[in-house]
Symmetry: none
Subunit: 192 residues, 4 copies
DNA sequence: GATGAATGAGAGTTCATTCAT
DNA sequence: TATGAATGAACTCTCATTCAT
């Protein structure tokens, strides 16, 4: 325990548990014992278990957006960048603790009428949609706004299905298949 | 209470709760009170909560496969049948209690190393994949086995993303977008 | 299931479970499943679990008294008969499922103020005491009633400690030691 | 409730119930209501009911060894000390809540293959055996190790039967009879 | 800033028994 | 005679959270 990153420590530990075991299945006691933090200390930093979950989601999303951006930065063309998303996913899939999309998984754990976590997830997914939309839009030659949106939305949907289904089937075929479909869609539009 | 459908009654009640509230969030007490059954009666029919969940998954899957099959039966061409899948999904989406894919949601609730529910879900998804593969394969003119598989797998992936994302965004655009992509892929292959 | 010894079948099965697992730890469901009898059938023959226990105790005691009597019958002298009791116990100890005294074990499972099982156990133990008293009394030459009683009571106490302690320590030294003490006491009195 | 002896409080309350009602017959709810402690508080201090039982056994054994030691300390000779054990037992027998040997009773409640409680009981009984062996050994004049062991083991067996049988028959005759036998055995050996 | 003791509510499961057939 | 469905009460244990220090 290095003293000052106690809060981060908790988020990391709890996050790993949420991701591998599930949110509801992970108890506060497990979090405190695994992160070597006293119970009252945990509640000093977070007002509730839900607050930890939200912090975890935010950290995970930031890291994801940064990693993704960084991962495709080296590609020269927009085409390559878009397909690079699926390469990035493949590298994630290969990691031992890969467990699909943290946000989609959480979605299954919370009531349909949840008011805190669900809206956050929606916001984050929309951020990804916007990111993709800008990526496509920045380099398009001759295409309407609608065409741009259709392509970026499609890639979003393909990314989403690829991550969930590769976890479900424990195989990377959904990633390859999604990438293949994306490739066809990209070919239709005129990119720089 | 019509006397002898107690077991079905429990599955239905529990299933609705699992679907709307989540599996872990739904307690046995809520199930028994909502289905007007004594706790010991429930455990007379099911050895555990997990057993109820499995029965629920099986019932849901059977019903889904039957509904889907029936829903696209009236279409004349295979093309129409394949696109009919997305029409079917739209009709589901419009229902008030639509909550996305029951199986994918459950996936988020159970530990990564679960030995009972997860394999069942995988089996059921594979059944859908096989169903789609046969649907395409039965009516193809000139296409290799690999081409057939690629199309049916693609439609599977698109269906999956459509159901999850339409629930997440509370909008049917993912269904339309997925349908649109499917249409393009179908057009590439020579179907009867 | 040969039809007619259903009641016996239940007593035997339940008895084995009571003896090896304990009375309270053994459930009605385990009894019915292991004895291949329907629940209602069991309750047709016995009004309660306690009734089964009482039947079991009676069966066990009868068998015990008969076995013991038979086992020492071949001995010529009373001295040999008395020591034969410990030989009998040794043969019981060697059996794989030996678990000490069924009655003493039951004593630990029931409340101090029990009104049905405890008195039965006391009665049965007193029967053993009387049996030993007669065995000694029948063949004594010169000894007062008090002397006879002291010897038979002593042998009873030594038998009791031998059975319980050999089970507890999983060793036959308590049987040998008890037998040795008994031998000394017997030597003091003038037997035929 | 004097604040900080909650753990002890639970052991005492539970112990009394285990002793008078039996281990399996005593429920956690009864323990918490009688000791005015919340259920979660109990489980904060003990990980399971079995853990309470083990704590109870250890406390009871410590107290017993100390009481016994103290009770016979005033006697001058080893002979008197050895016989003092039975005097000690008589004083226990006279107490209103006397219920025989806590350990032997527990032995009847747990499955033959128990891995936690049974070994503890065996260990404690062996401790008593060693205690008696040293008591005899320390003051013997002319006797082999084997003779010493036979005497101390015999006294152990007699003590054990005395406590169990006096409880069973609700009479102190087994104590007197055991003491009488012990006296004879002690007379045979040459003690200081 | 940091703690461990304490909690009310509820988790899932099993109990011995009864009832309608 | 024989049955399996149904039950209320009780079981052991865990939950996320708060409190006094």
């Amino acid at each position: 325990m290095e003293k000052r990153n106690l809060k981060q420590q908790i988020i990391t530990t709890a996050g790993n548990l949420f991701y591998t075991k599930g949110y509801n299945t992970t108890g506060i006691n497990e979090i405190i014992s695994k992160s070597n933090v006293a119970k009252a200390t945990l509640y000093h930093h977070f007002k509730s278990k839900e607050a930890i979950c939200i912090a975890y989601l935010e950290a995970k999303h930031s890291l994801f957006m940064a990693s993704l951006t960084n991962s495709i930065a080296s590609e020269n063309s927009t085409k390559a960048k878009l397909l690079g998303i699926f390469e990035y996913l493949r590298s994630e899939f290969r990691k031992e603790d890969f467990g699909g999309c943290w946000a989609i998984k959480l979605l299954g754990e919370i009531p349909q009428n949840d008011k805190n976590i669900k809206p956050l997830i929606v916001r984050q997914k929309k951020e990804l949609i916007v990111f993709l939309n800008q990526l496509v839009g920045d380099s398009v030659k001759n295409a309407s706004k609608a065409e741009i949106e259709q392509l970026s939305n499609s890639i979003y949907l393909l990314y989403e299905t690829a991550i969930t289904e590769s976890y479900l089937h424990k195989s990377d075929w959904p990633i390859f298949q999604s990438r293949s479909i994306a490739q066809k869609l990209i070919a239709e539009i005129d990119l720089k």
